[in-house]
Symmetry: C2
Subunit: 342 residues, 2 copies
């Protein structure tokens, strides 16, 4: 039993769960970006057939789950659990999106780390023998996030250069005991890290220390280095956060420059699309993983990736009260080989 635990934060899965199916859905900007062809569904407007943006976000989650089920030849009854959450107050994107599926549900709040957190817990439930198949899902929506966290979109507020663009996207990953991979082989659970950053328009800088903390624990406890991975990804640190993480590791003598990317830098063409520091939101890492990355792994473009999305655990209220921004990062290893070396 103890052999599964590699350290305080990291676990090696005995029977690595396989990705059974995955899907992602996006909006207009995502459809104009470089990863457009990796989406299962792209909508030309922000409503996704619903009346409000919030209902549109729920519709995205519904579509992502429906598409993932269809692609795997599955019914909702085949899922023993679904683990999901989103950025909206009380996670209504998820609760209304999942309402009609009747799948046993554990609700999560991990902000933009939710794709990592949901895959981690789904994998642990499967490897622990409590589920044969489980779903992991999250979403974000530019318009719902802007009006909740910053300003209503129609105000046309100006955004500083450090600001990022919340992706309008959802991603769903179905994992199971059976399948041909990629497999989830290792999980590193994050701790809350708060280095005192208070600028809610500079999330990359606030979250970078959490990514550094979890990735450091991961390398240490799994006895790996960046060279053991074909690709290492954070979720939505953007340009600035990506630079900070790279710099932190360089100070430790660890060179991340060859294979470290950030989903927020992949999802959009920042030159053409004016996304400032890059993409953000739960849906950013979720759609890049459940499209571009997992498709690429199945095509053997990469055989082993370390996926480590970060979340900023603040709210507008905490910011108004002068608080800094606590953050967290959950890391998951996907490998095309079931029996990983470490």
């Amino acid at each position: 039993m103890q052999t599964k635990r590699l350290g305080r934060q990291s676990v090696r899965l005995k029977c690595p769960p396989s990705v059974v199916s995955f899907a992602c859905v996006g909006g207009k900007m995502e459809g104009q970006g470089p990863l457009a062809s990796s989406f299962d569904e792209l909508y030309p407007d922000s409503f996704f057939g619903a009346k409000t943006w919030e209902q549109g976000e729920s519709a995205m989650q519904r579509m992502a789950l429906q598409r993932a089920l269809e692609k795997g030849g599955l019914q909702p009854e085949d899922l023993d659990y679904i683990l999901a959450g989103d950025l909206l107050n009380q996670c209504i994107g998820t609760s209304f999106g999942l309402r009609d599926f009747r799948i046993p549900f554990y609700g999560l709040y991990g902000a933009c780390s939710t794709m990592g957190e949901s895959i981690a817990l789904a994998s642990l439930l499967i490897d622990g023998g409590f589920a044969r198949m489980a779903g992991a899902m999250t979403s974000s929506h530019y318009c719902t996030a802007e009006r909740q966290y910053r300003m209503p979109v129609p105000y046309g507020s100006q955004r500083p250069p450090t600001a990022q663009w919340t992706a309008t996207a959802a991603g769903c990953c179905i994992l199971g005991t059976q399948g041909d991979g990629p497999y989830v082989t290792h999980i590193t659970c994050g701790r809350i890290v708060d280095k005192g950053i208070t600028d809610a328009n500079n999330m990359g800088a606030a979250m970078a220390p959490a990514a550094y903390d979890t990735l450091s624990a991961h390398f240490r406890e799994t006895n790996t280095t960046p060279a053991n991975y074909d690709l290492i990804l954070t979720g939505d640190l953007g340009q600035l956060g990506h630079e900070i993480v790279t710099e932190f590791f360089l100070q430790d003598g660890i060179d991340m420059r060859h294979n470290y990317q950030d989903c927020g830098l992949l999802l959009y063409d920042r030159k053409k699309q004016d996304m400032h520091a890059g993409g953000s939101g739960c849906g950013c890492a979720a759609s890049v993983l459940n499209g571009y990355l997992l498709r690429g792994m199945r095509q053997k473009k990469w055989n082993r990736i370390l996926f480590a999305p970060t979340g900023a655990l603040l709210s507008p209220t905490s910011t108004f009260q002068g608080e800094s921004i606590p953050s967290i990062c959950h890391a998951v290893v996907f490998s095309n080989e079931k029996g990983a070396a470490n």
Copy 2:
């Protein structure tokens, strides 16, 4: 492996995790109620030594965890994970409350079902061999909840008779592979249930169908009846929801009248304290469990209880948009005997 799963929603734990320690903290009203003596700490004001109510809620979680650690002779380093969440937007009660402990953290959002959800997942991680010891925690605060969900308290808005009173309380339960009980023997994971109730001042009625759904699944899949438990508890259905659940089961020929209680009806003296339909909030079930109930079990007042808190997965935004109230209920069995009959 498959023998652990009793049905789609229920799991029997192979090595039932033991309650290692528990604690609860409350405010002024909780200190004037009939369960006052079961609290570890009671505060005479709503601030808990902090400057704002939200910071006060974080302080409550910090105190509850600290007390639970102390009572168990434990350090934060002894916990492999903590699973927690609360009602505040983006769960800031939890993220700021846990910030300084540096414990690997999975954030949850289950509204007022969070005490059930966190114990369920902590138990599954322990039984799956991924943790030796894990914490489960949640909180709510009357003043933070009122201004977020309804009206700022100083407005003095009148509350309808169906309204409930959000408890100002936090509870923490530490579970582990070793200990003398009570033990978590069974878990039934809830599904989202929405019967179309739209009145956010009548949460009991909105959540009762979720309690009925999960408890029905529990009885069916574990092959038990109410007679197998010394006590069955919902979290905060209040007077009305308690009646609805009792009535639903009577229609199925199942008599819950002998041993079914609701934490929201236990926490306050409704005649003297004017709490309308009863107590509510994550902190209601959390403080009743991690005080009155677990103390009572250790004193052999009850030997087997079925704890089933419900959560309403709405937000003010969903209500403004005319949506109904999706709800969920997670059930957990605590037993003084490790090897349960079913």
